[in-house]
Symmetry: C2
Subunit: 343 residues, 2 copies
């Protein structure tokens, strides 16, 4: 996908280190960072310079390949990278794929590249399968950012929308701003703008109102982890949208690669929900009048804040999962069927 | 209630004009403004220096008394003030109460004072009736600001909480930040802090998650207009909280004086929903490092935004209305009963 008119990836390997678009700089600028050590990779994930469940899986995979090349301890590096964020299971998937090829650094790098390529292929296939669900002029509500900044090259929730736009279906996207980190306002709006797809920004609290008033044909979001029974952990605020969709009979789709499905976790209640720093909620970051990144304090000094980063949508509220092997029910049987198609 | 340790009102009449706390300055400062003309009053409402459904009713009432004293045309002034904001019906109530006493300026001022006093008494009674619903240590989720900044002296949703705190019940309040204008983060957190009531700020999108996880005993909000059938218009984001409360069997209470009930509006579908400027959503206002009010731009330049300021919660989702004449069902019968108690 395009950044400033030029095709780019969200993370990529070079012999100098793992490069990434620093997502904190968007939309004010599109800055590139480079992680030269495992610690650089870990910190870029922790501060969300690199974020998005599938993308941090790929980034961490390259990070472990970097550890091998530098002669760093593989198990220590694995643990450091796995500990950066608790909710997305893709992180473990990417790390395990690369560790399985240890100790040879070249084989580990090849494994990371294969993992990356497979994620790109999965995202591309999600776009193809999801396209079948989109009618001409569909009005689609999304949350957070599940585009190519979150998932190499195509995205998950945005992949079918990119496909639909290229197929001339003129999709229209409601972009929920996604407090506190504003991934919707900053990243999804930017991605859609770069691709010329019509969209409008809304407050997170406006979703239920728009669904109630018949303005939304479909809710389409990504996922950070899907349990064995189809429960979906995704960015905080997702569950409220699912409840509104249910109340007004609007389909609620979750787009995710199979690497996001964790069959070792029985239900959503067992998915660990990351608590992020209160500071994220007590402030908002944007651009000042001069175009420089600036942060303003919103609440009175000393205010306490609670900042869970994800919530769990029960599978009964999910119309279907859009995966790289097709659209399947968000149930244990549907998930079993999806994995059977891969064998 | 207290601002900086000193008891104060949110608006008050003097012979020099109608004074008000400029709510845009809170929490960074507590600045006082004065409206010396009807146009000053109208603009203070439009820019939300003065906001909160009951409060703008009182402020507009004094505004019309000001028009009379200054010899401005009453009907023109009435129309100017009524046109400032479309959703809250209290605005019309306050204006009509004062117009009924025209043309004598002294009688009109007396009518405005009576209207103000009645709103204070109603808010105080709401506190008493609502108190009966609060147990020791109740964890209460509120949205926007329905405290004494929104309703003279006591507030609506916060009035029972203030009562509970004074009764030693140690209520705990989840404050939903309320994008885009952040009345929760800026005003409710400030009010509760001034009174020493324990509270924590959350993202609007976190409400459903906290309700699902059993962290919330009660949702308690104010209202901008209540239709004859009990449907409730309130700050955007309220409806999503009501859906989550319903899904998890948590009571959802709406606290409002009878002046907020519009029996001329049959259902919520007929309540006009104000659309506020997109700019409010494209930016966030807070304090910079030096403590000065500053605004940052969140979304890419040129992003379109849709900013409905209110939503409608169907009466079936409202456990009960807390009014100055008692707690009544959110139904046509319940509302009829409430008005019967006033006669």
């Amino acid at each position: 996908m395009r950044a400033g008119g030029r095709d780019t990836h969200a993370v990529w390997w070079t012999d100098q280190g793992v490069y990434y678009l620093d997502q904190r700089s968007i939309p004010g600028a599109v800055e590139t960072g480079v992680a030269r050590t495992v610690e650089d990779v870990a910190r870029a994930i922790e501060c969300m310079a690199v974020r998005g469940a599938p993308l941090i899986g790929v980034f961490a995979a390259y990070g472990l390949a970097l550890a091998a090349r530098r002669g760093e301890d593989i198990e220590v590096s694995f643990a450091r990278l796995l500990g950066t964020r608790p909710t997305a299971v893709n992180l473990r998937r990417g790390l395990e794929a690369v560790r399985a090829a240890s100790p040879d650094p070249a084989r580990m790098l090849a494994a990371a590249r294969r993992f990356d390529d497979a994620e790109v292929a999965a995202a591309e296939a999600i776009g193809v399968h999801g396209l079948a669900l989109i009618a001409h002029g569909s009005r689609i509500l999304t949350h957070c950012n599940a585009g190519w900044l979150a998932v190499q090259d195509w995205g998950t929730a945005l992949a079918p929308i990119y496909r639909a736009a290229r197929a001339g279906l003129a999709p229209f996207v409601y972009v929920s701003e996604t407090r506190p980190r504003l991934q919707g306002a900053r990243l999804t709006a930017w991605e859609l703008g770069q691709e010329g797809i019509e969209h409008v920004l809304i407050a997170d609290g406006a979703s239920a109102h728009l669904i109630q008033r018949g303005k939304v044909d479909m809710v389409l979001v990504g996922a950070d982890r899907i349990a064995a029974n189809g429960d979906v952990a995704n960015k905080i605020g997702t569950y409220a949208k699912a409840l509104a969709a249910l109340a007004h009979d609007v389909p609620f789709y979750v787009a995710a690669p199979l690497t996001t499905i964790d069959r070792a976790t029985a239900t959503g209640a067992e998915i660990p929900i990351e608590e992020r720093p209160p500071e994220e909620l007590l402030t908002a970051e944007g651009l000042d009048e001069a175009g420089a990144v600036a942060r303003v304090r919103l609440a009175p000094a000393g205010t306490a804040a609670l900042n869970p980063a994800f919530d769990v949508t029960p599978h009964a509220l999910v119309t279907a999962l859009i995966t790289e092997v097709g659209v399947v029910p968000a149930t244990a049987d549907g998930i079993d069927e999806a994995f059977r198609r891969t064998t």
